[in-house]
């Protein structure tokens, strides 16, 4: 990813609270159906998988197709049982793996 993804979490989280995690990745999400000026098909290049784990346990995942808009925005929820690290992973067609580790301020 050209720019690091943006992740927004609440500033402070109570134990047991269900919070929304907002993520925004920078990606062209090229569908593979478009042609360039010379008539050649532009190869597909999308983020196909997004995974969120909290302390090593999977919380949420998404399998994305070309029908997801460019610069995919994904917001999901997490039940915070206690302090821990949230790890987010984006995988794209070029094999690039983008990881974001998000500290959560659990009070």
């Amino acid at each position: 990813m050209k720019k690091p993804p943006r992740v927004k979490v609440p500033q402070s989280i109570g134990v047991g609270e269900v919070v929304e995690i907002k993520t925004l990745a920078t990606h062209i999400m090229e569908t593979g159906n478009r042609k360039d000026a010379a008539g050649n098909v532009i190869p597909r290049d999308i983020i196909h998988t997004f995974t969120a784990t909290f302390d090593g346990q999977e919380v949420f995942s998404a399998e994305l197709g070309p029908g997801i808009a460019a610069n995919p925005y994904i917001a999901f929820y997490l039940k915070v049982a206690g302090p821990g690290a949230l790890e987010l992973v984006w995988l794209d067609d070029s094999g690039e793996r983008t990881v974001a580790s998000v500290p959560l301020n659990v009070v």
Partner: protein, 160 residues
Amino acid sequence: MADASRILVLDRRNFVAGAGAAALIGALFAAIPKAGAGERSAKFEAALAALLAGATPKDGGIEMDLPDSVENGAYVPLALSVKSPMTAANHVKAIHLLSTLNPRATVATFRFTPLSGKARITSRMRLAKTQEVVAIAELSDGTFLMGTRTVDVKIGGCGL
């Protein structure tokens, strides 16, 4: 002024013919169904059948927050949610998002766990043209819920 006088000279025969033509055009427009409404591609039907694997989904239960009409199909905001206690015994396993007239029927699959706490997802999708958007929720007891929303698209999501 010459034009006005020509309009006024309208004999009965011409008038009847004109009225008939107008009625015909009106009927033709009425016969064209609202573009995309209810139309579903073979790809969509195949994807839906593969997903349900013979099960019959229950209608409703999925809250689909999508605009009724969008200017630009390249960027359609959406939120999907299913009310669920999200416990190990009773939770939403996944919400599948399908399009009925995009070149690819499967848009995305969102998978939840009891750690999600809430089966709600917000994202943005592409729509090639006016069509129905279908969401299928897969529950932990093996049942399915189905929701449908029609979105009117003015300009299609380019080169889907």
